[in-house]
Every structure is written in structure tokens, then in C-alpha cells.
């Protein structure tokens, strides 16, 4: 099933060019002609909108992406993960794949990534706290992993679990929220070609504060859905628990799709501040599904997104 999306790997070729083109000053200098020619080269492949988006995105610096994080296992402050996550023990690492799959098992990292082609994806990342970044992830589609696991027909959801290492995690010792951190996706969301498991950023192995050694990335949902440091992936029939939804169901729904029209009960989601713009950075409008509306809106056809927030 995953092979159906292999076409998307064409982004592999595109990304260097896109990363090159996304330097706005270069675009400006080269003028419209060169820009159009560059896009033309990738225009023949689908889905074009995603490519165009990717080309327009300018990634945050490695420093931005690794110095400003939410990872409550290592503290509630934005700089706590960068300060404390070095204590996370990532070797050895094993991932359990179980539940409604034909090939359950416990895999070492090497076994887990074996045979999967790592590609780069430049995605917007929108935090529920109304800030955002652009991150160049390295990883593979979750669909590839699920295809290998052999999803049984009864499975409707995928649940994920983060490692708990109390001796290494000050946030776990203090019990700031319930641990282990858990998250979940509906199966069609999990199978969507945009959904990936990332093992790195900027071509580097995943930094610990970003969820080493492997994390989920679901770019059209608020950042907390993109669970870090995964140790378990379980296919289920029932909607799985999700940590923030357990803590405060009125504020954090199971879906948690980025939606500028549905505000968080305590703050607006209509705008966001892009990290890295300095003290006078202007806010920008938040996009429906974080700019991935064309790709994912059909997943929610007929659903009231105010009710299923």
C-alpha cells in the first residue's frame, strides 16, 4: 500500500532545489523568470500545491529548532528540553509495534528503519500556543511502516507512546503531567502521505530535545500531536487516549487540527508568531490545516470542525 505514495519521493529530488529557491533574496535577485523556470521543472509532478508550498518555505535555523521546544518530560520551560534532554538514553532503543497488525514485534532502531528510504520534508510546524516554525525534517512516511506491519482490517486508529525514563527526566520526576505521553491518529490520518516518522532534522540525527531517536510529524495538526521519542506504536479499534486531551478535554480535542477559526478557549488561534523574527517580528495569519488544506481537508469531509476540534 505504501508504494502507492512512492511518487511523492520525487520531493527527494525537489527539495535541494526548493531549499535553494526558497532563499527569498535569491528569488528576488533571479527575478520571476528564473523562479518560474525552477518551479516549472517540478511542475509536471503531482501534487503541485505541496511543492509550491515547500518552495516558499524558509526553514528556521538549526539553533531556533533546537533551542525552543516543548518536551514536558524535561521541564515545562521552552529552554528546559535543550538544557536537560541530553540525559535521555537513546541507545539502545527499541520500538514495539503491536495491536491489530499481522507482524507485531519489538524492533531495535536499526531494524525499524531498515529498508526505509530517508527523505527530507520541509514542513510548517504550528504550536497550539500560537507560535510556529518551519522545520526541514528527515524521515519516512508512517504509511511505509504501517504497510510493513500489516494493518488488519479491524484497525481504525494508531496510538503512540513516548519513552519514560524517570531517572533521566526531571519533568517525569515532578509529575508535571501524566506520563507516559500518549497520542493517537485516525488510521486515514496516519496513512496520509504527509504524515511522517522523523529521525532527523537538517540532515543531522534527531536532537534529543526534538524527540530522538524517532518522532511523529503531522504538519496539519498542532505540534503536541507530533509525539516524540516513540517506543510503542499500537493499532487499535477504539479511539486511543491522547495526553492533552486527558488533561483538559475542553481545550485539546483528539483531532487538534490547526484551525484559525476555532480558538483555544484561552487564546485566539487566528494568528501566529513565526519564531526567529526577533523582537519586532510581525504576527502572521494562521492557515487552515496549517497550509495543508488542499492535501488533508477531504479527510474531514462532513465533519463539524468546531465539534471535532
Amino acid at each position: 500500500m505504501a508504494h502507492r505514495w512512492k511518487n511523492d519521493l520525487s520531493r527527494d529530488d525537489v527539495t535541494p532545489k526548493a531549499a535553494f529557491l526558497n532563499r527569498r533574496n535569491f528569488l528576488a535577485a533571479a527575478g520571476l523568470g528564473a523562479g518560474a523556470a525552477g518551479l516549472g521543472a517540478i511542475g509536471g509532478m503531482s501534487p503541485a500545491p505541496a511543492m509550491a508550498q515547500e518552495a516558499a518555505l524558509e526553514p528556521n535555523s538549526f539553533e531556533d529548532v533546537t533551542a525552543y521546544n516543548n518536551f514536558y518530560e524535561f521541564g515545562t520551560g521552552k529552554t528546559d528540553p535543550a538544557a536537560n534532554a541530553h540525559r535521555l538514553q537513546t541507545e539502545p532503543w527499541s520500538i514495539v509495534v503491536d495491536g491489530l497488525v499481522d507482524n507485531p514485534g519489538t524492533f531495535s532502531m536499526a531494524e525499524f528503519v531498515d529498508g526505509l528510504e530517508i527523505e527530507e520534508r520541509i514542513y510548517r510546524f504550528r504550536c497550539v500556543e500560537a507560535w510556529s516554525m518551519v522545520v526541514p525534517w528527515n524521515g519516512f512516511e508512517l504509511a511505509d511502516v504501517l504497510a510493513r506491519a500489516g494493518v488488519q482490517s479491524a484497525a481504525k486508529y494508531v496510538s503512540f507512546e513516548t519513552a519514560v525514563q524517570p531517572e533521566n527526566m526531571p519533568g517525569v520526576q515532578r509529575g508535571v503531567i501524566p506520563f507516559p505521553y500518549v497520542e493517537g491518529l485516525r488510521l486515514d490520518e496516519a496513512m496520509h502521505p504527509l504524515t511522517m516518522l522523523a529521525t532527523g532534522i537538517y540532515g543531522e540525527p534527531m536532537p534529543k530535545q526534538n524527540g530522538a531517536p524517532i518522532r511523529l510529524v503531522v504538519p496539519w495538526k498542532y505540534g503536541f500531536k507530533s509525539i516524540k521519542s516513540i517506543v510503542r506504536i499500537t493499532l487499535t479499534e477504539e479511539e486511543p487516549a491522547a495526553t492533552w486531551n486527558i488533561i483538559n478535554p475542553g481545550e485539546y480535542g483528539f483531532f487538534s487540527n490547526v484551525n484559525p477559526e476555532v480558538s483555544h478557549p484561552r487564546w485566539s488561534q487566528a494568528t501566529e508568531r513565526v519564531i526567529g523574527g526577533g523582537l519586532f517580528a510581525a504576527r502572521q495569519d494562521t492557515l487552515m490545516f496549517n497550509g495543508y488544506e488542499e492535501e488533508v481537508a477531504s479527510l474531514y469531509d462532513g465533519m463539524d470542525l468546531r465539534e471535532f476540534y
Binding site: 514536558y72 521552552k78 485566539s268 519564531i275
Partner: protein, 203 residues
């Protein structure tokens, strides 16, 4: 011991509080402007939090002056006005960072104040502090009379409590710092109520 401390304190002029307060605020702003240290990645929120938290610390410090004298014998009373006014300065600085650098439009400021309870509460705290800042001078004490002036300045308590609530309400999860302020302010309030009661009984 307390005598030594008190006589040492007598030699420190009150204006040092203003100097330290404004100086520190300027230093934080400079760091934010240049993206230094904690301000490297997201200076706006960090500066907003820093000013807000210092405002809360100074409000607590102002409230602690009387209990510290009553229970520890250390007299900081001559610094209290400077502490209070510096706290107000930080509240205003916090609000300006929120309004100008963070939400960036008057319409959105109003929307936040009306729609977000934690902003409403913070704004209410700021408003309560305005008459206190305006009357923090000898002329006002003379004009109002000491008794009614003191009564008015009891507003510091609800203002500080609302400030702590504002902080507690805006966070996700259960971080310890906001809870800490809430507990300390409540403790100071209880301490004062108890002391007053005891004095009334013995009087």
C-alpha cells in the same frame, strides 16, 4: 543583628530601587533586542514573561514589607513606595510588550481583554494598581488622610492575587512558579490577618 541590618539599610537611599529597577528592565530589553541568552530564539514572549514575573515579585516584596518588620524586625518601610512604583512600572512594561510587540494591534488587545479570562484578570490587576501608583506620594497622603490612603492601598492585595491568578491561568499543565506566587501571596495575606486579629485581642 536586626539593629545592624536596620542601621545599614538606613544608609541606602530609596532611589537605588528605582535605579536598579529601570536599569534591569533596560538590560532585559537590550538582551531581547540583540537576541542574547534566553532571548535568542523567541525574545517577545520571554521579555513579556520576564517583565510580568518581576512585577509579581515586586508586588510580593511590597506586601512583605510590613510582615518582615513585624516578625523579623527588619525595617524596609522607606523602600516600600519605590518597590510599589517600580512594580507598577514593570506591569506597564509587561502590558506594552503584550500590546505592541506581541498581539500588535489595539483591536486584538481589546479582543484579548474581553474574550480571554486570564487577560481580563491581568488587565483588572493593572487597573487596580493605577490609583495606587497615582497616590504614591506625600501630597496624596496629606490630601486623603492617612486612614483612607491606607484603606485605598489595601487594593495591593487583590491586585497581586489577580496577577498571580493571571499567571496561573495562562499556562498549560501545572508548572510550579505560578502556584508558588499564589501560595506566597495568600500566606502573606493570612499572616497579616492573623497579626491584626492577635493585636485586636490583646489590645
Amino acid at each position: 543583628m536586626t539593629n545592624t541590618i536596620n542601621s545599614a539599610l538606613r544608609r541606602v537611599p530609596a532611589w537605588t530601587i528605582y535605579l536598579a529597577g529601570f536599569g534591569w528592565a533596560a538590560w532585559l530589553f537590550w538582551q531581547a533586542l540583540n537576541g542574547l541568552g534566553a532571548y535568542a530564539v523567541e525574545p517577545i514572549n520571554v521579555l513579556e514573561r520576564a517583565y510580568g514575573e518581576i512585577a509579581l515579585i515586586l508586588l510580593v516584596a511590597g506586601l512583605a514589607v510590613t510582615p518582615v518588620r513585624q516578625h523579623l524586625g527588619v525595617n524596609l518601610i522607606k523602600f516600600r513606595r519605590a518597590i510599589g512604583l517600580t512594580a507598577f512600572f514593570y506591569v506597564i512594561a509587561h502590558f506594552l510588550v503584550f500590546a505592541v510587540l506581541d498581539v500588535q494591534s489595539l483591536g486584538r488587545v481589546w479582543e484579548e481583554v474581553v474574550k480571554r479570562p486570564y487577560v481580563t484578570v491581568g488587565m483588572l490587576s493593572l487597573v487596580l494598581l493605577i490609583p495606587l501608583a497615582v497616590t504614591s506620594n506625600n501630597l496624596s497622603i496629606r490630601k486623603m488622610g492617612a486612614a483612607s490612603w491606607r484603606k485605598l492601598h489595601k487594593l495591593t492585595y487583590p491586585a497581586a492575587l489577580l496577577g498571580a491568578l493571571h499567571y496561573l491561568w495562562l499556562t498549560r499543565g501545572f508548572p510550579t512558579e505560578p502556584l508558588f506566587y499564589f501560595v506566597v501571596i495568600t500566606a502573606l495575606l493570612l499572616l497579616r490577618a492573623k497579626f491584626k486579629k492577635r493585636n485586636q485581642v490583646t489590645a
